[in-house]
Symmetry: C2
Subunit: 248 residues, 2 copies
């Protein structure tokens, strides 16, 4: 039987989602806890990966087990067993060929920034010390909409057969207390893509880059074209959409 597991985490203390040798990762905690509860080795497969320090308000992974399980009970026990910075919200049965990564229709990320010092948001938002023109940043963000080659906003060494992505939503919006949020949805994201986009939008917002230059960066489809990546702490994966028919 295959299950989807939906969870969230404060990524501050972790070397990202994906298991790697000699590093504390969210997947390592999840697999270990699941393995103890199901009394068998479990290897989850995530909808994507998040880098060191990046958060997830909603992340999804799938796993297989031959053990008969009460999904709601497993969810509760798993949530109790995991450290305070990881919470499991749902465990649901899916069709045997459902795939957390390949079946995802879209992902949504938030990038939060603070324009004033805020002791309560510093783990989940990036502090910006310069002035930003959000109207110009939104004009640039609009250029991202649609299907483009995002090679300019992709980390070197990514092994992916295509760098085409379709962006359906890309907008800065004000929050309370001098905070702003960039919300972006796409069918897929390349490695480091959101942070490279946000970093380049900062360049547009503070006048280092004109709108035409931003357009040129996108069109260049060249891995050296984008600005510096924005820091990890402001970034959160917040939603993943799946077709309804994969659920049992």
């Amino acid at each position: 039987m295959r299950y989807f597991i939906q969870f969230s985490y404060d990524g501050t203390a972790y070397h990202g989602w994906q298991v790697q040798p000699n590093a504390d990762t969210v997947q390592a905690h999840l697999d270990t806890a699941l393995g103890m509860l199901l009394r068998q080795p479990v290897r989850t497969l995530g909808a994507g990966r998040t880098d060191t320090g990046v958060h997830a308000r909603m992340m999804v992974a799938h796993f297989d087990t031959e053990t008969e399980i009460d999904a709601a009970d497993l969810c509760r026990r798993l949530c109790r067993m995991l450290p305070p910075d990881i919470a499991v919200s749902r465990v649901v049965p899916v069709k045997s060929d459902a795939h957390a990564r390949f079946d995802a229709l879209s992902r949504t990320y938030h990038y939060d920034i603070c324009l004033v010092k805020n002791p309560f948001r510093r783990r989940f938002a990036t502090r910006i010390h310069y002035t930003l023109d959000f109207e110009r940043m939104n004009q640039a963000a609009t250029l991202l909409l649609g299907t483009h080659d995002f090679n300019s906003f992709c980390k070197r060494g990514t092994d992916t057969h295509t760098t085409l992505c379709t962006v359906s939503e890309a907008q800065w919006m004000p929050l309370e207390d001098g905070m702003w949020r960039f919300r972006i949805t796409a069918n897929r994201f390349l490695r480091n893509m959101v942070r490279a986009i946000v970093g380049t939008l900062f360049d547009v917002g503070n006048g280092r880059l004109t709108l035409d230059e931003f357009k040129e960066t996108l069109r260049a489809a060249d891995r050296c074209a984008a600005g510096e990546s924005a820091p990890a702490e402001g970034l959160s994966l917040v939603n993943i959409e799946y077709p309804q028919d994969i659920f049992q």
Copy 2:
């Protein structure tokens, strides 16, 4: 010249507000930073004290200086100099006899709780693992309104000439994501008072205490009467009201 300084802090890492030997306190950081900027020893006087691990969204202190200062500039420099978990939002001149503690008309506290595990709120909310009847808790909270002797909800060894307080607001309200907030406003608070009240309201909410027993606890005015104090992390000082005429 006397100034009021308004600031906020994440209290997680501090032994409360007030300076004490061999302990890291918010006041120690503030006094040191002010002293460096004004090139003279400065001793602030706070509107009240917060205990170890308690937060403040809005705290006020006053200080005196003979140095001519640009208040807005001092505010910016102070904020930059202080650690990331303390932020200064205002420095304003006040009348020479204005007093951060004695002139305060009222204080408001929030006590936030999470009924579901939440990786993003754990520093600023207390995780509650049992079921609570918020309707009953609000019936009990209503009994706190008005002027009462709050000796039952006061820490032993408090040196105060009176334990009479006037509560003008005391209510639980739902927030998003399975969170609830207790908001309480009074002209003054005794030591440990909010946490003792919240702990006793938990007893009402989970059935360990009836409404009549709660009423009796309040009426007893006895320092052993209240329930266990609620943990520090859920508590934040959020507002202090002053009369307008103390500002210059």
